[in-house]
C-alpha cells in the first residue's frame, strides 16, 4: 500500500504544475490590473508604476511564474495586496468558521440522506416513494439563493428562532447560536439531490442477484438491507462524499455572505473583487492539493469498504 500511496503522491506534481500554469496565465490575462484598484481615485502613471513594482507585477512573466512556483512549494504566499495581512494567516483564521458550518452539514446531510434513501428504496414504487421523489425534484428546482432569503426571513426574522446573522469568537456559541440556521438551510438544500442519488445507488444494489439469493435463503429483510445492500452501496456513496469533501474546506460563499460568517468562501469573493492575487493563488492551490489528497484518501478507503479492491 505504501508504494501505491507514494506513487499517487508523486503523480500529483504534474497536476499541481498544471494548476499553477492555469491560475497564473488566467490571472495575468484576464485578472485586471491590481495597481489600478490600489492606486486610489487620482493617480498618475508614475504612481501606478511604483505600485506595480512593489507588487512585482512589472517583472518578466517567467520570473513571476518562478516566484509563484516557489510560493507553492514553500507554502509562503506572502501578504494580501489589499490589506497587507499574511495570506497564511487569512487561510488559518478563515478555515475554522467554514468548517464549523460545513462539517455538521456534511455529517447531517449524509446521515439523513443515507437513512431516507435506504428507506425510500425499500418502499420503491409506492405512493410514499413517488411523493418523496416529487418533493425532492421540486426542492432541487428552487435556487439556493431563494432558500437563503426565505429561511433567513422566516426563521431569523418572523419566527425569531435564530439570529439573522452574526458570528462570535467562541466555537460553542457559534455552534449553538449562529451556525444552526445556515446548517439547517444547507442540509435542507443538499438533502434532496443526495437522497435521489443515494436512492438510485440502493436500487442498483437491491436488484442484484446476491440480494435475491440472500432473500431466497431466508435472510431477514433487515439483514439484507443493512448488511448486504448498505455495504455494497457504500462505494459510490463514499465516492460522492469524496467529491464533495474539498467543498467543505472552502465553504459556501452565499451562506457566508448572507450570514456574516468570516469563512473562506467569503474571503475568496472579497479577494476576487479586489484583484488580490496572493489570496486567490493560495486558495486555489490549497483547494487543488486538498482535492488530490482527499481523492487519494477515498481510494485508500475503498480497500476497507470493499475487500475486492486491491492496490496495484
Amino acid at each position: 500500500m505504501a508504494a501505491y500511496v507514494i506513487r499517487r503522491l508523486w503523480q500529483m506534481f504534474p497536476t499541481i504544475l498544471g494548476v499553477i500554469l492555469l491560475i497564473f496565465f488566467l490571472f495575468n490575462w484576464v485578472g485586471g490590473d491590481p495597481a489600478q484598484v490600489l492606486a486610489g481615485k487620482i493617480s498618475n502613471p508614475e504612481q501606478i508604476a511604483n505600485i506595480r513594482k512593489q507588487l512585482g507585477v512589472d517583472e518578466p512573466v517567467l520570473y513571476q511564474l518562478w516566484v509563484f512556483v516557489k510560493q507553492v512549494f514553500t507554502f509562503d504566499f506572502g501578504r494580501s495586496w489589499s490589506t497587507n495581512e499574511e495570506v497564511s494567516r487569512i487561510l488559518l483564521t478563515r478555515v475554522g468558521p467554514t468548517l464549523t458550518i460545513m462539517v455538521p452539514v456534511l455529517v447531517i446531510e449524509t446521515v439523513l440522506a443515507v437513512t431516507f434513501a435506504i428507506m425510500v428504496a425499500y418502499v420503491r414504487g409506492t405512493l410514499t416513494d413517488r411523493t418523496i421523489m416529487i418533493v425532492c425534484t421540486v426542492a432541487m428546482s428552487i435556487s439556493f439563493l431563494v432558500y437563503i432569503i426565505v429561511f433567513q426571513w422566516l426563521f431569523g426574522f418572523i419566527l425569531g428562532w435564530f439570529p439573522v446573522q452574526g458570528w462570535s469568537e467562541s466555537f460553542w456559541k457559534n455552534l449553538a447560536t449562529y451556525a444552526p440556521l445556515p446548517i439547517l438551510l444547507a442540509v435542507a438544500v443538499g438533502l434532496a439531490p443526495q437522497l435521489r442519488l443515494y436512492r438510485s445507488f440502493f436500487l442498483d444494489e437491491i436488484n442484484q442477484d446476491y440480494v435475491r439469493t440472500a432473500r431466497a435463503k431466508g435472510v431477514p429483510e433487515k439483514t439484507v438491507m443493512m448488511k448486504h445492500v448498505l455495504r455494497n452501496a457504500l462505494i459510490p456513496i463514499l465516492t460522492n462524499i469524496g467529491i464533495s469533501l474539498p467543498g467543505v474546506f472552502v465553504g459556501s460563499f452565499l451562506l457566508e455572505v448572507f450570514f456574516s460568517i468570516p469563512g473562506l468562501g467569503r474571503e475568496i469573493i472579497t479577494a476576487v473583487n479586489r484583484s488580490d492575487f496572493p489570496v486567490i493563488k493560495a486558495v486555489t492551490v490549497y483547494l487543488a492539493v486538498l482535492t488530490m489528497l482527499i481523492n487519494l484518501l477515498v481510494d485508500v478507503m475503498y480497500k476497507y469498504v470493499d475487500p475486492r479492491v486491491s492496490f496495484k
Binding site: D33, Q36, N84, T93, F157, P163, V164, S275
Partner: protein, 607 residues
Amino acid sequence: MNLRVAAFVLAAVLAGGSIAAVAQKKVLKMAFRTAETGFDPQRIDDRYSVGVCENLFEGLLTYDYLARPVKLVPLTAEAIPVPEEGGTRYTFRIRPGILFGDDPVFKGAKRELTAMDVEYAIKRFRDPRNRSPYEWLFENKIVGLDELHERAKKDPKGAFDYEAKIPGITVRDRYTVSFKLKEPDFNFLYVLAMPNVVPVAREVIEAYASDTHAHPVGTGPYVLKEWVRRSKIVLEKNPNHRGYELDTRYANSQDEWDRRAMDSLRGKRLPLIDRVEIYPIEDEQPRFLAFLNKEHDILDELPFAFIHQVLPNGKLSAALAKQGVHNFQELQPELTYYPFNMNEKAEGRPNPVGGYGPERVALRRAMVLAYDVDAEIQILRKGQALPAQTPIAPGIVGYDGEFKTAAQAHDPPRAKALLDMFGYADRDGDGWRETPEGKPLMVPFKYDGGSQEKRQLAELWQKSMAEIGIRVESQAVMFADLLKDKKVSNFVTATSAWIADYPDAQNFLQLLYGPNTGQSNEASFKLPEYDKLYEKSVQLPDGPERNALYREMNRLILAYAPWRLGVHRIFNHLQYPWVKGYKKHPILYTNFKYLDIDVAAQQAAMK
C-alpha cells in the same frame, strides 16, 4: 458559618454590582455595507476604513457636527489659521496635553501629541513604500516634499528620509507646525480636515511596520479593542481622551435633528457611548433584517431594494414609525456621470464622439438629451436621487441650487432635431443613424460588469440612445480594467462617479482640468478657456468672484458636453429611538462620538 454567609452576601452584592455596571454599558451596534481594508490612515481610501479612523485619530481640523453647509472647526489645533503670504503659508499651534491612546510601544508612559507627529504623517503620504491612495493631496503642493519623494525613489532601498528638513514643513516648537505651499491654495485647510490627514506616532508605525493596519494608535475618542478582519470591528472609549462638548454655535434651532441633538447632548461630556460594534455585511437582506430584528441600533445607507417597504409613498412605514424609528435623508455630496472620450481617436479607431468641432459637440449634446435620467431615478434608484444640473454636488461650497438647465433634460425630440440638423441621418433605412460623412455610427459604452447597478444603467443607456437612432455597443469589463481604460482614454463612453473628498467645488471641477488628463480627467477634456478659469479659481478664496468663475466653467461644460451628468444619490439612514443625537455629516462618515444611547429604552425594546 457566619463568615461563610457574609462572604456569600458580599460576593452576591459584588456580582450584582458588576452585572449592573455591565448592563449600563452603552453599546452601539451597526453594519458596514462593505468590508474595511485596515486602519493605517495614510494607506487607506475606502470610506468604511476611513470612517473607523475618524474615531481613532484626530486631525488638526475637523467639521462642526451640526453646521450646514459644513463648517471647519479646530480639533487638535488651537484655532483655524489665517492664510499667510497670499494663501501659501498656514501655521498651526497644537493644543498641549493631547494624549495618544496607550500602547506597549510607549512602555507605560503617556505619549503627548506634538508638531513632529503632524510632520511625520504628512511625509508618509509621499513615501513611495506606503503607496498612499491619497498621495495626490500632497503632490506638487508643499515646498521641498516632491524632492524628498524623488530622492526616495532613487534610493536603492526606496528609503524615505523622514529626518530631512524641508522648507515646506517647519516644526517651530513642540506644538507649532507651519506649512509653506508652492502655490496659493485656499482649500488646503479642507485637506487638513480629511480623516486621513491625521498625526500618527512614528514609534508606533515603525514598531508595527509589517502590519500598520492592525495597530492604529491615535488621539481619537476611541481605541480599537477588537478586530476580526472583514467580520467585526469593536471600538471602546479611549481612557486617555480629554473629552468634548457639543458645539451648538452653528446649530439651526429650526432643524428637528439639530434640536434633538442639542436636547440630548447639551452639557454632557462626549463621547458617551462606551463601545461600538461594527459588522461588515455585504448583502442587503441580512443588513436590513439585522436592523429590523433590533440586532443593530442604526442602519446606515438603507439598501435601495427595501425603499418601498420602508418608505411607501415617500413616508416612513407605519410599522417603523410606531416603533419610533427615525429616518435621516441625506443628499450625498457626490455625482454620477458618463464621460465622453474627447480625443479624436479611441480604442485604436477614430472616435465618433471625440473632438471640439460643431458636429461632434452636437452629437454629444444630442446623446445627453437622449439619456432618460428620469427613468434612472424612478425605476433604478426608486426615487432616491436628484438629477444633476451641474458637476458640483449639493452641500459643496460653490454649489448653486438655483441653477437649472435644459441642456441636461431628457428631451428625445430635441436630440433628434439636433442630429438631423448636423447630418446624422439614417440614410440606408436600417433604423440607425450614420455619421454626416455617411459612415456607420456605433458608440461603445463601457461599464463595470460585476455590478448589477451598472448593468442596469448600461441597459438604460443603450435603450435611450436607440430611441434617437444611435447604436450603442455595451461592453462589460472588470472594475480594475474600467479604471485603467478610463485613465488611458481607452473608451468612448463609460460609467463614472465621484464623491467629495472635501467640500469645495474645486474637488469636482478638477475632473475636467486639462492637465489632469491621465489622472482624474477621464474625458481628456482640454479646453484652454476652461483651464484658464480653473487656474484662476484656485488662486481665489471662497467668495462671489470665485463663484462667478465656477458658473462660467459650468456653462462651458454644458456647452461642450464632455459628460452626461447623472444624479446625486439620496441615502436613508434609520435609527431606533434609543439612539440620541443622530445627524449624518456629508463629509465625515461616522458620528459615534456625538451619539448617546438610552440603555433603559434599548433594553425594554429587546424584551
